[in-house]
């Protein structure tokens, strides 16, 4: 027998083993799923329709920092003029204070920018609830031609060319700047934007002095008049859809936008919107999906009439507005 024979045989075995091994490697590479460390909220449950916002949160602060930087960088927009924070001012209620937002090239949006604060407690995102989660939602404004008008390819290119961002991404994930990592960073940052310790939360957790007498009267009206049918839970809203004008007619200024109907084209979805959260509502004027109403008393009257068929006396409107101010608090400092 020849040495050549054995060498050829061994080489043959190696070559043949390479086929299944490379198949295995390729299939493994494709199905690699990045394990994510989920944010944990420590909920405190109380009896009643409104629930307090958790005061404790476990979150990956490294991703929060990167997400914050991404949230304020204009590199996410096509012409580097608009950032997420252009429409979501975190220290001022989480929206921009305009009826509708302005995007790239001064383009006007169609809907009022919703607050980003406590948005992780919403069961869906956007006014019509078309995004099922915060991570699904991010693609919306990035690609919308009247918002950021950009694309993931463009953004990845710009962020990769930026020394800070390329290093920051690589320090957190060996894959560096990828769509998944951008989404993860922004989502984690948005999950950190919660506003516990509002007077209403302190009241719910047992501090009877947290609400003024007028606010307590407001809470009584809020519950008894039926506002909590839709505005309940941790976010005082944000956990269901509801038809605007469920019981009574709605003003003409609010009727044009058909809400969820625009997506589903189903009659039952006409004027159906995700119930907006009332957290920090005193800081997020103007109100409604098109920002058509600029003051809380008017918004309260419209809602009482359209949703509950009630014409509220002035005193009750004032009490409820006072209560709505008790839903405001500052963003938690993530340690």
């Amino acid at each position: 027998m020849h040495t050549h024979y054995y060498i050829s045989l061994i080489l043959g075995i190696f070559a043949c083993s390479a086929v299944p091994l490379s198949l295995y490697y390729l299939s493994n590479e494709q199905s690699t799923i990045q394990a994510e460390q989920a944010t944990v909220y420590h909920f405190e449950k109380v009896s009643g329709a409104i629930q307090p916002i958790p005061r404790q949160i476990e979150i990956d602060t490294r991703w929060v920092s990167l997400g914050k930087a991404l949230f304020i960088t204009p590199l996410l927009s096509k012409n580097n003029t608009i950032s997420c924070s252009s429409c979501h001012l975190v220290d001022f209620g989480g929206d921009d204070g305009f009826p509708v937002s302005t995007g790239i090239d001064n383009a006007e949006g169609e809907r009022n920018s919703p607050t980003v604060l406590n948005s992780s407690f919403n069961f869906r995102q956007f006014w019509d609830g078309r995004a099922s989660s915060l991570s699904d939602q991010i693609s919306g404004p990035v690609h919308n031609p009247v918002e950021m008008g950009s694309s993931w390819a463009e953004i990845i290119k710009k962020l990769s060319a930026d020394i800070y961002f390329s290093r920051a991404f690589l320090s957190l994930d060996p894959h560096g700047v990828t769509r998944e990592n951008i989404v993860k960073a922004i989502t984690t940052y948005e999950e950190s934007l919660i506003t516990p310790d509002a007077p209403i939360d302190r009241y719910l957790l047992g501090d009877n002095t947290a609400l003024t007498e007028q606010q307590q009267r407001g809470l009584h009206h809020f519950i008894n008049h039926g506002c909590t049918t839709c505005h309940q839970g941790i976010n005082i809203g944000g956990n269901m859809y509801q038809k605007l004008g469920r019981v009574n007619t709605i003003p003409d200024i609010l009727i044009k936008d058909l809400g969820k109907y625009q997506i589903t084209k189903k009659e039952q979805d006409r004027n159906v919107f995700k119930v907006p959260s009332l957290r920090n509502v005193a800081d997020t004027s103007p109100y409604f999906h098109n920002g058509a109403v600029d003051n809380l008393p008017q918004a309260v009257r419209i809602m009482a009439s359209a949703q509950l068929g009630r014409e509220l006396p002035e005193q009750e409107v004032e009490d409820i507005v006072a209560l709505l101010h008790a839903f405001s608090s500052k963003v938690i400092e993530v340690q």
Partner: protein, 296 residues
């Protein structure tokens, strides 16, 4: 070099390549199927919880819907991930949409029922009688929905005009009228949604899809076993071929030596005993001639 001599080795190597690829492929298939199965198993666990929470929403002590919203969100995310047949997919979509419509109506109906049941005193006895009558008819309709009751109620509701200027409690009357109409318009629809949700064979569809995937996993397991067995057999066969080839080569060499020795004996005849033959063979080169040295 005559490659056709090595056909058995090639065949064994091909066998090994084929079966080991089959093995690897079955591992990939197993992973893919398990990934498909994961959301289905999660859905199988979550949907009953979601259904219970959804039907509980009808109870007056259910004051907020955070738990339902969370489950709804999880169910929707899983339905988005799940890879099932068209029928099951449509069923999931229907379930999702029906549940969203149901919760909108049922939460509002609860409020409407509570609001019209509130007792408000008025000096206008005739009006109070009408509103009491409406409430009575309404609760009779709610307990046993009937078309006649509905028609009577609508007639009753339209019989009194709410004059803001003249009636001191017009707000209350307006409230009763609007909410009663809302209940009449939506009570049966809500009950239809509820029945639809209860009767929807979502769990059955999940079980069916799960059984399909489990059958697929079993098939993949067999494929993996065949792959392992085949590739090991390929290697064993190769080993046997090598041993056989080695044995054959030794046998052939031995035969050659024997033949040569015999022919040499014949050639030398009576002097054979004085001749010592040294045979040497270079293993590296088979073509090298056998060396014969004579010693006298």
């Amino acid at each position: 070099m005559n490659l056709s001599r090595y056909i058995p080795e090639f065949a064994c190597l091909l066998l090994f390549t084929f079966f080991s690829s089959l093995w690897v492929n079955s591992l990939k298939e197993d992973k893919t199927t398990s990934e498909k199965l994961r959301p289905l198993l999660a859905l199988e666990k979550l949907i009953p919880q979601h259904e219970v929470e959804l039907l509980n929403a009808n109870f007056s002590d259910q004051l907020h819907y955070d738990q339902l919203a969370q489950l709804q969100s999880e169910v929707e995310a899983l339905v988005f991930d799940v890879n099932v047949g068209d029928t099951a997919e449509q069923l999931f979509k229907d379930y999702k949409e029906t549940s969203l419509s149901y919760i909108q109506l049922t939460s509002m109906l609860k409020t409407s029922q509570r609001l019209i049941s509130e007792n408000v005193r008025s000096e206008n006895t005739q009006l109070m009688n009408v509103s009491d009558n409406i409430r009575l008819e309404m609760f009779s309709f709610i307990s046993t929905p009937d078309k006649t009751d509905k028609a009577t109620l609508i007639k009753l509701l339209n019989s009194f005009e709410i004059d803001r200027e003249q009636q001191s409690n017009w707000r209350y009357l307006q409230l009763v009228k609007l909410h009663s109409l809302f209940i009449l318009d939506n009570y049966e629809l809500t009950a239809t949604y509820r029945r639809k949700l209860i009767g929807m064979p979502v769990i059955e569809a999940i079980v069916q899809e799960r059984a399909l995937l489990q059958r697929q996993i079993r098939r993949t397991d067999i494929k993996r076993f065949v792959g392992i067995f085949g590739s090991v057999s390929g290697l064993v066969l190769l080993f046997i071929v090598v041993i056989k080839r080695h044995e054959y080569a030794l046998k052939e060499t031995s035969e050659q030596h024997k033949e040569f020795a015999t022919s040499l004996m014949n050639m030398l005849g009576p002097h054979a005993g004085k001749v010592q033959v040294e045979l040497a063979q270079d293993n590296d080169n088979k073509d090298r001639p056998i060396q014969i040295r004579r010693r006298t």
